[in-house]
């Protein structure tokens, strides 16, 4: 009820009305007759974008934990490689990384007979393992840096209390240090995950038909340019909205005193 009442302020009513006019105008004057024909492909593209995002965010974050930890407290032989990795990943364009991995590794592997004869070869001939690898590394590189700061920011006393009560190093990490670091990093991670979503269209350049690739297929087939792109923007916006909502819920699990 209160949410509804908050929407019914004068300035908001005006904004809603303007938006409605825009939608109606788009629906009436633009061409949408291509949609039924491309709907199955578009849904497939949407599905690919979503799982590409989910898999690379999960795997990338799992990698970011040791990367952050190594930089925060690791000995030099762990912290230096971890820092170098994050610097290289953050300092080069993702598009370049995707191409280097796909064209580089992809043309290197066939040179080795034992790879060509392995069980994995049928997969290594496709594009998606390289796409997942590149996007995972990218997310790990950025989030490794975020987690470094998050680990370092957990107050000393919190860890000291864990030690004073006899927690083993692993229990301390699992029960106190990691949860608090994640809690600190959540707002940043939310933003970075949305950035990751918006990085996924880059894999269209190595022939993976995700959402963006479907839009450009429509353009090539029908010479309709703007309508598919508008719809595409709307889809990205919707996914980003869902992500923002999920991260807000996660952040709210531990209330903060303001």
């Amino acid at each position: 009820m209160t949410a509804l009442r908050a929407l019914l302020r004068p300035h908001r009513i005006v904004m809603i009305a303007l938006f409605a006019v825009l939608v109606v105008w788009c629906a009436v004057t633009l061409r949408w007759d291509w949609i039924p024909r491309y709907a199955p492909l578009a849904l497939e593209g949407l599905w690919r974008t979503v799982w590409l995002l989910v898999i690379t965010v999960v795997l990338g974050f799992l990698l970011a934990i040791p990367l952050g930890l190594a930089q925060a407290i690791g000995p030099w032989y762990l912290s230096i490689p971890a820092r170098s990795f994050c610097t290289v990943i953050r300092g080069t364009p993702l598009l370049l990384q995707i191409w280097l991995i796909y064209y580089g590794l992809g043309s290197l592997f066939p040179e080795y007979p034992w790879i060509r004869e392995s069980e994995l070869w049928p997969y290594l001939r496709q594009a998606w393992p390289y796409a997942i690898f590149a996007l995972t590394m990218s997310y790990a590189g950025y989030e490794g840096e975020v987690m470094r700061g998050a680990f370092a920011s957990v107050p000393r006393g919190q860890l000291e209390a864990a030690e004073a009560f006899g927690m083993s190093r692993f229990t301390k990490f699992r029960r106190i240090w990691l949860p608090q670091a994640i809690q600190t990093a959540l707002p940043t991670l939310g933003g970075e995950t949305i950035l990751q979503l918006k990085a996924t269209p880059l894999v269209a350049t190595i022939a993976i038909v995700e959402m963006y690739a479907v839009a450009s297929r429509v353009r090539q087939d029908t010479f309709i340019v703007y309508e598919p792109l508008l719809l595409l923007a709307l889809f990205y916006l919707a996914i980003a909205g869902v992500l923002a909502l999920i991260f807000r819920k996660l952040e709210e699990r531990v209330p903060v005193r303001r």
Binding site: G157, Q158, E160, A161, A162, E163, A164, F165, G166, M167, S168, T171, R175, I176, P179, Q180, Q183, V254, P255, V256, R257
Partner: protein, 266 residues
């Protein structure tokens, strides 16, 4: 007021009670700075030992060496008759042993150090469940009893950040009690509190002393130390300058430094 305290002299303490904590010739250096220059102390079961002294006297460091939050440079520490295995440089030789001993010592910090990402109840069941292996239901029931005891039962599901310092410290005491400690270590438990909140925390500690818990208490509250302790140790520049029953230490100090110190804090 003085009569009951006078009765609690060292001589009157039952010497037959087992030793809970024994520290022998404890040294601690930070780099070239020697903070502790040979401290020995003993707390028998049921003893309340108060450590007083000016800032920088080493009293907190001494307390933190007992559960190895600070690594002693040399010395011997015996908890419940079990000597902590130490290497020549004072570092603990057996991590498992340290963890086991720590889980028997209930520590209360100056800055409370409640875990901020968990509610009070979760803070209190954390160690029993995840270190001592107590079944969750049992740990919860016990935690509720303890929260009730420190007057925070209705705050069980509140996060520490929403509580006053006094409430946080009382919850931290409940957390220390939840492990059923063989001894409790208090590191200036009221120093971070607003003056009007000190009383509620001291009341809880006083009750614990009255029920015969073994405690080592580093404190700036001289009146309180005199009232609850069986034995007072005055540290100055890393050495025990004077020690004895509270009435003697506070009422008839012999060392010049202690006289000066008591004058400055009164």
């Amino acid at each position: 007021m003085t009569a009951p305290i006078a009765a609690q002299t060292v001589a009157d303490r039952p010497a037959t009670q087992a030793e809970a904590i024994r520290v022998e010739d404890l040294h601690k250096s930070f780099g070239s700075l020697e903070v502790l220059k040979g401290i020995s102390l003993t707390a028998r079961k049921g003893d309340v030992v108060a450590i007083i002294g000016g800032s920088g006297s080493g009293k907190s460091t001494c307390l933190r060496c007992i559960n190895f939050l600070e690594t002693p440079s040399s010395g011997r520490i015996v908890i419940d008759g079990e000597a902590v295995e130490m290497r020549a440089d004072g570092t603990p030789a057996n991590r498992r042993q340290i963890e086991r001993i720590r889980s028997r010592l209930g520590m209360v910090f100056q800055a409370f150090n409640l875990w901020t990402h968990r509610t009070l109840l979760e803070n209190i069941v954390e160690v029993p469940v995840h270190v001592l292996g107590v079944p969750r239901r049992e740990a919860r029931d016990r935690a509720m009893t303890l929260l009730d005891r420190v007057g925070l039962a209705e705050k069980a599901d509140t996060y520490p950040a929403f509580l006053s310092g006094g409430q946080q410290q009382r919850a931290a005491i409940a957390r220390a009690l939840a492990i059923e400690p063989s001894a409790m270590l208090f590191d200036e438990p009221t120093s971070a509190l607003d003056p009007e909140l000190v009383g509620e925390v001291l009341t809880v500690i006083r009750d614990l002393a009255a029920e015969g818990r073994t405690m080592i208490l580093v404190t700036h509250e001289m009146k309180f130390a005199r009232e609850v302790s069986d034995h007072v140790i005055y540290l100055s520049e890393g050495r025990i300058e004077e020690e004895g029953p509270p009435d003697k230490v506070f009422g008839a100090p012999t060392s010049e430094r202690l006289k000066q110190f008591l004058k400055s804090v009164s």
